[in-house]
Amino acid sequence: MLFNSFQFLLFFPIVTIIYFLLPHQFRWIHLLLASCIFYMYFIPVYIFILFFTIAIDYIAGIMIENAESKKKKLFLVMSIIANVGMLAIFKYYNFFTENFNALLHAVHIQTFSIPLLNIILPIGLSFHTFQAMSYTIEVYRGNQKAERHLGIYALYVMFYPQLVAGPIERPQNLIHQFREKHAFDSHQLLDGLRLMLWGFFKKLVIADRLSQYVDIVYSRPNDFHYLQLVIATLFFGIQIYCDFSGYSDIAIGAAKTMGFHLMTNFNRPYFSRNIQEFWKRWHISLSTWFRDYLYISLGGNRVGIKRIYVNVAIVFLISGFWHGANWTYIMWGTFHAVFIIAYMLFHRYSKLKIRKNKALDILSMVFTFFLVTFAWIFFRANSIHDAFLIVHNIFTLYDPHPFQWVVVDMKNLSEFGLTSIMIGCIMTVIMFIMEKILPPRLQSLDDKPVINILFCTMFLSLIILLGIFTKQSFIYFQF
């Protein structure tokens, strides 16, 4: 089920109201059933994949806890293989097979090719697999007790607000909350709804509006003037932020209405002054996952400097690959690895001593934004060929037609393209101003009822009046 669907408009209040009406001991059943319904709106049969991983990791958790130290590792490895195996089959099999077949073709072996699988990627697979892996690793490290209650463990993996696109929760943060009794709290309800509203605003008013332009330009990049490629790329940078952070806000808000606290996933990343800071503020639940479970496992900062750079490169390459089985994502990850390593080198060897000031901060933010936006070209492009074509066309000031022609060509936007773009830009400015003024969870509005009412009224009205309700997905669902 999509958050921006009519079904969710009914589902959410019904689930929340029933949650508070039920006695505490039945609430986990209710949430689990609701989560199953939420997930089964996509492809019902895929629920069995979830059940399978839940069963594996539930058993693995208990076995890891009960085992002696040597066997612990064995059970952990087995659980990781099972989880990664699911990803390998559903997400990466066709990628590797296609590339292998292409390699065979390149060396003139044309009589043999491995068949591809005709399967649709289960929605949110990478998210709940990583969340499940987080559990077994934490049990292995002794930071989390193995959960004996299968229902509670299943709920940890399946909790509907964060099931398909995160935040990727750690077991220490979430599991105990399912055991706690949450009394109805109108303050939390207000906080949750307000955050959901903010998420919907970012998603429906900004992301989905800008995507209309981005989709057209990126579907046929060679038909467009370099300025349009630049605009579409900048728009995509804003679109993906509003789409994904909007989803996270809705998820965190929906959980909060029932008294659950999910981790913050975005902390105004486009206000970062360097690329390292960007990764501390963007998709925090994933970047900390990679830090805690991969980077540290590779030695973290305790190894030599060269090895640190290698580890950073590995983490970002895998992070790129996590996003999708396509060379575009691998290139995206590679660019970020290069940026981070370059920054680390600069930081380490530069003798420049620059006094901090506001102008420099702004300059650094703009520079970081452009670096990140440049990498987004590879993330968004339909193929690696398209990505390099876009980069080439931007940097060679490609000009296929008179500039205005493209606006006429934008069938879906046609003559109202400029109006739509203008609204998108104005709303983006409003969003950035609000994000600059307010904290990530808008807590500062709690004790200012008048401002709170104005905020909620304004953004609820803007969503209804300016929202795009025809777009039927979130970008990160595909991961």
Binding site: S186, N222, L413, F416, T419, T457, S461, I468, F469
Partner: protein
């Protein structure tokens, strides 16, 4: 102030703001699209009897002039072309029309290369909301995920179906503008398409593939069944385009045109392929590659009227 009060006040004030905005915008839109409202009312609410109905996309809407056809065929025709329409919308238009009108003798269905592609089911679904009194319209909207019950309770929710184009038109309407530019007119559903002539710049479009969706094919089958049940003579047409321009912009034109031809042949439906008429080589008759201009529509309507007469005469 208690949080619940804050929530209630915020929701109520938003509803009031949205309802007021909706009232203003719908007024503006009614003014701007006066001709469209009049036309859709005629199609979906009125009981007028017509002998001949033209169903299709904007290529029908702006390309077939009933006045010309009526004068040659001695029939009373109406142009029911839907802007951006596909076969689903054609089916809905025809079924909704039949729901309120006496049966026509003939239906000319113009099928385009993109008619089977139902990735976007409705080009502009919100334009149908004012006509949910027609049960076919209401049912079709509901079947395709556009909830009409919610709209009945909270009318401002119609705004969620308006795109920026519609909203900017509504604002234009409030400032006294109308959609039909000076010199153009609407007559029995036909909308004249200016005196603009084709410019070469229109040709620069990358070719794309149009899908033949199962739902598109089923919609066509339903139209055929509907006409057969009601004893309406169905005729297929492929509207003129400048020098096969639309086919050049499509990667799979033959696949689609063959499907139309085979369906026509299988069901013994006359099929006019009007893309190789002489007028298709004259840029002075086209507003753009796929759409005739005012003079083009006039000329084509004469040809089409004679083609219809041939069918009537059993030739």
């Amino acid at each position: 102030m208690k949080p619940l009060s804050q929530i209630i006040i915020s929701v109520v004030s938003s509803v009031v703001i949205c309802q007021l905005t909706y009232m203003a915008l719908s007024r503006g839109l009614a003014k701007y699209n006066n001709h469209k409202m009049e036309r859709l009312s005629e199609l979906f609410l009125k009981p007028t009897k017509y002998d001949l109905l033209f169903v299709g996309s904007s290529r029908t809407h702006t390309g077939i002039y009933p006045k010309v056809v009526d004068s040659i065929c001695r029939l009373n025709s109406y142009n029911a072309g839907v802007e951006g329409g596909n076969l689903l919308e054609f089916r809905i238009t025809l079924a909704a029309y039949l729901n309120t009108h006496p049966l026509p003798q003939y239906v000319v269905l113009t099928i385009d290369l993109n008619s089977f592609d139902l990735k976007r089911k409705f080009f502009n679904y919100s334009q149908y909301y004012p006509f949910v009194k027609n049960k076919v319209i209401e049912q079709s909207l509901n079947e395709n995920g556009h909830n009409t019950a919610a709209i009945k309770i909270l009318p401002f929710l119609i705004l969620t179906g308006y795109d920026d184009y519609t909203k900017s038109n509504a604002i234009k309407g409030l400032t006294g503008h109308v959609e039909i530019p000076p010199g153009d007119f609407q007559y029995k559903g036909y909308l004249s398409n200016s005196e603009n002539q084709l410019t070469e710049i229109e040709e620069k479009v990358s070719p794309k593939t149009y899908q033949i969706t199962a739902e598109g094919v089923e919609s066509l089958e339903q139209i055929i069944r509907l006409c057969r049940q009601k004893n309406i003579k169905l005729i297929f047409a492929y509207a003129p385009e400048y020098k096969f321009g639309l086919q050049h912009q499509t990667l799979n034109p033959e696949q689609i045109l063959n499907l139309i031809r085979e369906t026509a042949s299988k069901n013994e439906i006359p099929y006019f392929r009007d893309d190789s008429l002489d007028l298709c080589n004259n840029p002075a008759l086209f507003a753009n590659t796929g759409h005739l201009n005012k003079q083009g529509a006039y000329d084509y309507s004469i040809i089409l009227a004679h083609e219809i007469n041939e069918v009537r005469d059993g030739r």
